[in-house]
């Protein structure tokens, strides 16, 4: 029986999950991704204190896997580019899980810190492979194949369809977790809006826009969001509205969101900030979205 390696469906899973699954399978183990977020998952994750909703959800996923898997795959992603960091909670994630889940399965938690160069990634791959009894070369090859196989090319921007265009900005682990974001994208579409998300921005243009800011946004994932938002705002005509979906107590978003509000204001684009936590009620959210979309419709000439 190959060992089962659990991958909690949360946070960086939404960036690298497919590659991770492929990598683990190629190492000869069985990846087990937890099912989609539900209310009980978030309630169970609530035993972690004062963190944002996605981290609570993540811990809930880790808990749900704990007695079903032999190992938990939880890489410590410190940085994925020179001069940038992940958010501190992502950096400290393995420690939080270890402290809050005593007696849980052992973690595969190699450190990835690309501020120091690509060698850190190789070391992380090798140490993950070692945990499953694989040689360094075998592991590196497995990663290479998994990366090529599952790395999706960025989708091109959709064509404007005459509908009001709303840019929905938020981290993938919020926007793509339908329970956490309460399917806000679907709700907006049902209200007759064309929704664009950061992954639809041209990555190169987004990187350039972020680099042109007066101060480097040193949180890598926030920098991507800000860059994407800026490219959408610079388009002509500008979008009809921008919604920034964040989670309460998200540190980087609290400051970057303030800057996005300003960028949108300078382009005359209406801006709505929605902060989610486990107490957010769906009805309240719908009311706010309705008010916002009504306002946008009225602004149209």
């Amino acid at each position: 029986m190959p060992p089962t390696v659990g991958i909690p469906r949360g946070l960086l899973y939404y960036y690298y999950g497919d590659v991770w699954s492929g990598f683990i399978r190629r190492l000869g183990a069985e990846p087990a991704v937890s099912p989609e977020t539900t209310r009980p998952v978030i309630e169970a994750g609530g035993s972690v204190d004062e963190v944002c909703l996605p981290v609570k959800a993540f811990f809930g996923h880790a808990l749900s896997l704990a007695d079903k898997v032999d190992l938990l795959f939880l890489p410590r992603v410190v940085s994925v580019a020179a001069g940038h960091y992940s958010c501190p909670k992502i950096i400290g994630l393995p420690d939080i899980v270890r402290a809050a889940l005593p007696g849980g399965p052992p973690l595969i938690a190699p450190t990835v810190d690309l501020r120091q160069g690509r060698r850190s990634l190789c070391r992380a791959i090798i140490s993950a492979g070692q945990a499953l009894g694989r040689s360094p070369l075998y592991s590196l090859y497995a990663w290479q194949r998994a990366w090529q196989e599952y790395r999706k090319p960025a989708a091109a921007a959709g064509k404007p369809a005459g509908l009001s265009r709303i840019v929905l900005v938020g981290h993938p682990y919020i926007l793509n977790d339908r329970h956490i974001c309460m399917d806000i994208g679907g709700k907006l579409a049902a209200m007759g809006m064309e929704v664009v998300t950061p992954d639809k921005a041209d990555p190169r243009a987004a990187a350039q826009a972020a680099a042109a800011l007066p101060k480097n946004i040193f949180w890598n994932y926030c920098r991507q969001l800000a860059g994407a938002a800026l490219t959408f705002l610079a388009a002509s005509p500008p979008p009809d509205g921008m919604i920034f979906l964040t989670s309460f107590a998200c540190g980087p978003d609290s400051l970057v969101g303030e800057q996005l509000r300003r960028f949108a204001g300078r382009r005359g684009v209406p801006f709505l900030l929605v902060a989610l936590d486990e107490h957010t009620a769906e009805a309240g959210l719908v009311t706010r979205l309705e008010a916002f979309t009504d306002m946008i419709r009225r602004r149209r000439p």
Binding site: E50, W219, L255
Partner: protein, 367 residues
Amino acid sequence: MNVTFPHMGTLHIVLKAMLTTLGVRAVPPPPISKTTIEIGARFSPETACLPFKTTLGNFIQALEAGADTILTCGGAGPCRLGYYATVQRDILRDLGYKFAMIVIEPDLASVWQSIRRLAPGGIRPLWPAFRLAGAKLRALDAIERAACRARPRAAASGDVDAERLRALAAVDEAATPAAAAEAVASSLRRLEGLPAGSGPPPLKVGLVGEIYVMLESGVNGDLVRTLGRMGAEVHPTMLLGDYVDTHILRDKAALRRSEAVAAAAAPFIGHYVGGHGMKSVGHTAAMGRTGFDGIIHVFPFTCMPEVIAKNILPVVSVQEGIPVLSLAFDEQTGEAGTVTRLEAFVDLLRYRRKRQETAAAAQKQLN
């Protein structure tokens, strides 16, 4: 040029000495009050952390009082502090203030550029400015440590506070490093001479966490003084000098000390998480082994590095056998609530110590 800067404990005395010697006028913001926090919170993003809001309040009050230049720090992450200046500058500009902002980023070129802007009369006074500021920094730390030691032992802890304020004023006025040192020496003598109280021997309490909340009595409910009054000798793990030695001067002894703290943290936290999160864990573990009665962990609400520490400290507490109280502060924090929680914690520590003493006495009799 009227230069202002954010408050943090007694830092304004140090910065004032430095700026004045360089030949610019220093305009420290008014001391942090309820109004400062209110003004700051009103114009800040809702979930920004407390130091962001309070320092923004400082800037607004100082600009209203005639400052035209703001001196503050930058940073390279992952803690939010590194991005403060960028957002605060935009907020203040949108409010209509006219000012220049000097942001000291952690690289030599930026530091040099900032110094050139702050020393319009040339860099000749640079060395005396650093020397005077350094002497005052050491003096202030010595006073703080002596006051922490004296408070739980004195018959009237108010005498200690009065003496501390007198000493701070004397250091502020000192025109030379020697005068600053002399002010401290005489103040320490007077503290030694205060009549002793008759209470039980003081509890030893370690103070760990985020530096701003630890040092700024205007936002932490005057926690150090309150604990002292309750009969606890507080050991702050981070005074101004500790920070300067480790992060700016890279002093060898200080670096060795912080390596030891990192080693104590290693079994619980495997990587630097920004700010002081790792130090909070390390100090707690180390103090648990060196006879401390308890640990108070303070941080701004939603502080990312310290939230990680907070989730790990319960494990450290159990493994090292030391009680830990974590306190988060924001603009809603009331002083009475903080005092009640500190009282309960101090009671617990007293009870625990008594139980340990009884157990030790019983063991002795058995032998």
